[in-house]
């Protein structure tokens, strides 16, 4: 297990170092997040539906699409000079490769979300101060689930034509359960409802994470081996 984690960390560290050097994907994702929030802000009729009613949906739609950008780039990095082939020839276990990519993607999405959340508060004037900790916990719980699935699909489509389009088409149906859970819990938090009302959705998010992290860790080898 120590070897698995050590190798996973080596992969994640390398991916983050590459991202730090180029910054293209992270800057694109942050700008994209700001643009989506701006469009939602100016594209809605504030007299028809209150910001508070729309806010959970807008938050999660924004985070989901921003995360897609991160997931698209996860294995694009490995196409340069066919580095993926080198990884597969090396003694790196497929599970370590998956966990390393998952870790790097989580860090990437966390950065985008940590920029997106203050912008969201700014645009929609949602009082998140008193629910910040539970909100961050829900964001972490939902993000883990969809990044786990997205990392698997990102590897699956990388050798195909139109990989970016295919990833979205494959991934979105799998994101429906965590999105429903995340939106419902977030709506209750913003509406000052007791968290006990959202226990079912929290269980759904936790179960989704456990099932899909386990399943993706197991299935990953079948997506990268020829």
């Amino acid at each position: 297990m120590a070897e698995l984690l050590r190798q996973a960390w080596a992969v994640a560290r390398k991916d983050l170092l590459l991202e730090f050097r180029t910054r293209t994907a992270i800057v694109s994702a942050v700008v994209f997040t700001a643009l989506v929030l701006t469009v939602f802000n100016f594209g809605r009729d504030p007299t028809a539906v209150s910001a508070l009613d729309l806010a959970p949906t807008i938050l999660w739609v924004t985070f989901t699409f921003a995360a897609m950008l991160a997931l698209n780039r996860a294995f694009q990095l490995e196409l340069e000079n066919q580095a993926l082939e080198g990884l597969l020839v090396s003694p790196l276990s497929r599970t370590s490769l998956y966990w390393g990519k998952l870790l790097a993607n989580l860090a990437f999405v966390a950065v985008v979300e940590s920029v997106g959340l203050p912008l969201f508060v700014l645009f929609f004037n949602v009082p998140v101060g008193r629910v910040l900790l539970p909100l961050v916990a829900v964001i972490a719980l939902a993000t883990l689930g969809f990044v786990a699935v997205g990392t698997l699909f990102s590897a699956l489509v990388i050798r195909t034509r139109f990989a970016e389009l295919l990833l979205v088409v494959l991934l979105l149906p799998f994101l429906v359960p965590p999105l429903i859970g995340a939106v419902q819990v977030t709506a209750r938090l913003f509406g000052d409802r007791p968290l006990s009302e959202a226990v079912g959705y929290l269980k759904l998010l936790a179960a989704y994470d456990i099932v899909f992290v386990s399943l993706a860790s197991f299935l990953f080898r079948f997506t990268v081996d020829e």
């Binding site: 390398k14 066919q82 020839v89 003694p91």
Partner: protein, 226 residues
Amino acid sequence: MLLAEGLHHAFGRVVALDGVSFSLAPGQTLAIFGPNGAGKTTLLKVLAGLINPQAGSARVDGGRRAIGWIGHQSHLYGHLTVRENLLFWGSLYGLSAARRAARAAEVLARLDMSDRAGEPVWSLSRGLLQRAAIAKALLHDPAVLLLDEPFTGLDLAAAGQLRVLLGELHDGGRMMVLATHNVDEGAELATDVAFQRRGRFVHFAPRGTRSAAEIAAAYRRAMADG
């Protein structure tokens, strides 16, 4: 020891390997010559564990840790420096931090690249990139080297340097399997010679005292017969 027994693999109706068997002992270099599409790369990928053959088996003593791969793609990350690349790949092969730093310095000095260690890979010429790829392949001191068209894209001087280096590695007792479509490039290095066509070894014999020109003539005859 490297052992391949009854390897068979097809991509749809295209047969890439058809009953290929051979073994290599330390100090032996097998040069596999064949036209494009003969199945040479598939054979190397099977030996490296990248492809599971549909029939037969391949075994390398020491497993993946014993294999070094040199192809026409470098497997290096453009936005990392040469040294950073080597340290990353060394970590995947289980070298300790001190050991991989020492080995990186050692192989770079051997390849006359110490002064390029801090340069990003994207800035290297094709010849230097190939030398950096060789440094990566040698970092963990592999017992077996798999070489897939390693001379592709090199100018005459760089190809000559690579031949000298491969000769030194051969003298060091490594097993090497070299696949190329250019007989002139690999014949000098070989202890054993195979001609591959449509997935089959149509000729497999020790090189003996045959000159490169004699091997080239035999290759032309073997290809014309088919």
